[in-house]
Amino acid sequence: MLVLHGGRVFDPRTGLDEIADVVIEAGRITRIGRGAADGLEGEQVERRDVSGKWVAPGFVDLHVHLREPGQEYKEDLASGLRAAVAGGFTTVCPMPNTRPVNDTRAITESMVAKAKSLGLARLLPFGAITRGLKGAELAEMADLRDAGAIGVSDDGRCVMNAAVMRRALEYARTFDLLVTQHCEDHHLTEGAQMHEGVVSARLGLRGWPREAEDVIVARDLLLAEATGARYHVAHISSMGAVRLIREAKSRGLRVSAEVTPHHLLYTEDAVLGYDTHCKVNPPLRTEEDREALRQALADGTIDCVATDHAPHSSLEKDCEFAAASVGINGLETAVPGLLELVRGGSLSPARLIESLTSSPSALLPDVEAGGLAVGGRADVAVIDPDLRWTVEPEALHSRCDNTPMLHHEVTGAIALTLVEGRVVHERPA
């Protein structure tokens, strides 16, 4: 029996936000409430005093890159899932742009089996929409689903052909798979290095106009409406796309969107000085975009936060800007980053927790995650909102340290993570 004593307990499904004890037995939550652990004593009881900390459901990340199979020098399932639990994530959804691409049952099965044997965060992969992410022929989605995939995406590539996207939405709907689109008109972003705007003009870097995202979102919303599929916008970054999603939701479409911590935190200005740790796709945009994203996350237009954890080694980042790979390492810095928004007043603690737990899990209807209910699975993240630490490579469990926060002091950390009641991460006090 494990007792989390005296923390501020959140359950976004019921609106619970109060000081309470959480009692866990055999991987399940058995009691929640003020004084729920009173009188529980003895050798069988393991107690953790979590007063001053926040007790939340384990986080769900709908968008990570764990690089296995194929690029294990950047990350593998062991390091990636260790990084996940260190960041409070107990369920993560890796994108299929591995090598080989996760477009077949065997690859999904081997990933899921290996992750299970590690006993860290739960792995629920996305399969590919199209074979080899080539945007032409559909992948075997029913097979992928049966092997454990919870959705499909060609992330990293956009399904550019509207006819292919239409059929993908229809076919995915047959098996009730979530379709996540990487919204980028590749013709509009040829050679692009960063957001097209004031900073790209100054730095002489080819720009990625926000309209390249908007035109795909607009097109896909029309196709999603026509097909009735569940459509999800990956890493939304532009204010135009926010406006389109808001309009679609107001008409009751089954569409959703995720935003990354880095798009909520940074703007194009971060690229000044050619910092390759700020090179990411979609790119960091303007103050106006960032404000629109913050507002949309707060009001629910954007459903959830996803890290788009994209580890890259110095081989891909210690080079001239044009040669650098896109991507930011995100699992272990999400909470301190988002807490900055809470402290700045643009995000409430309850909405922060919700956007990391019940909101993403609502997009995975058959998965038990994202809540803290008596009788439910004891996946738990304990946040220490005031702990200060410095993001040094040694402090990270990921194999890479490609984050704009590198060497910066941050506030907020994950004190403790439980997966099915087992302690899988505990930060030394």
Binding site: E196, G197, R202, L203, Y274, A322
Partner: protein, 312 residues
């Protein structure tokens, strides 16, 4: 404020920094016209010209500048193909650093590459052109030429015409001229202008005619062949008809206005032969100024302790 250690762009440079380079260049300009065009100023100093892009003119100009200052000058041309085969920029730079150079002069196809290098070496780095970002020595030699021919640098009206989006020359010129209160206008087809041209501190003009109205200086940029045939520019013929400078259009500028071009020119495309060779043209002055200005820059970067630049 201490003067910048590198010349990457004009970030950190003030009016006085630019003027001191131009003044030193005046002295070196006289040296270049002497029978013995060499001074011992940088004897014992090592300059590496690291060129990742072909550029006969700029490389020759830097090489001559270094040699006339008595520095040891090493040229390293790195073809793009051999870069792909192996060594990273980071490793190349570490290797060069081990050779103890005083200055690395660098041209690279990627914007920001000299900034990357500058963060990793102890020696000074001079940007000889990076991608579509900056070409500060070109801007300095243009300023030198303007000051000589127009008689001043302050409060000029300057029009820059052509492929602004891809031009490191335009960016650096606008940055430098802004230090002297210039009104910088840019013009060209919208496909060749950056979306946020105002970020460069310039005014976008819809036509060449409107851009030329009352200017002191007009800079014509070279149209690159690779812009053709795609979606940026339908034809050179049409470009020439809409944005080419000829004698008649030049009449819209102030009397005696200066015509500049960083070279090499496409005669009959962005500039008509009679303007290129006419009395307003400063094209050859620019080339001559190049060596003197680069001597002044190298002197500033490596000449610590040397007193009178031209006599030392």
């Amino acid at each position: 404020m201490t003067s910048p250690r590198h010349l990457l762009d004009f970030e950190g440079y003030g009016r006085d920094d630019v003027l001191s380079i131009l003044d030193a260049a005046e002295a070196f300009f006289e040296v270049s016209r002497r029978p013995v065009r060499k001074v011992p100023t940088l004897r014992g100093k090592t300059i590496i010209n690291l060129f990742y892009e072909n550029s006969t003119r700029t490389r020759t100009s830097f090489e001559l500048a270094g040699k006339r200052l008595s520095a040891d000058v090493v040229n390293m041309s790195v073809a793009a193909s051999s870069v792909k085969k192996g060594e990273t920029l980071s490793d190349t730079v570490r290797t060069l650093e081990a050779m103890q150079p005083d200055v690395i002069v660098m041209r690279h196809g990627a914007s920001g590459a000299p900034h990357f290098v500058a963060k990793r070496v102890r020696c000074a780095v001079v940007n000889a052109g990076d991608g579509t970002h900056a070409h500060p020595t070109q801007a300095l030699l243009d300023a030198f030429t303007i000051r000589r021919r127009v008689g001043r640098l302050d409060n000029l009206i300057v029009a820059i015409c052509g492929d602004i989006a891809h031009s490191r020359v335009a960016r650096s010129a606008a940055e430098l001229l802004a230090l002297f209160g210039a009104e910088v206008r840019v013009t060209g087809p919208r496909t060749l202008l950056p979306r946020d041209a105002a970020a460069l501190g310039v005014r976008v003009m819809p036509t060449l005619e409107s851009a030329l109205e009352g200017v002191d200086v007009v800079m014509m940029l070279r149209i690159q062949q690779e812009r053709l045939g795609g979606t940026r520019l339908p034809s050179l013929r049409e470009y020439s008809r809409t944005f080419g400078l000829n004698r008649e259009l030049l009449g819209l500028a102030k009397p005696g206005a200066l015509v500049m071009h960083p070279g090499p020119m496409n005669r009959g495309v962005e500039i008509s032969p009679e303007v290129a060779d006419g009395p307003s043209s400063a094209v050859l002055d620019q080339v001559e100024a190049g060596v003197a200005v680069r001597m002044a820059v190298l002197y500033r970067m490596a000449g610590e302790g040397a007193s009178n630049p031209a006599e030392a």
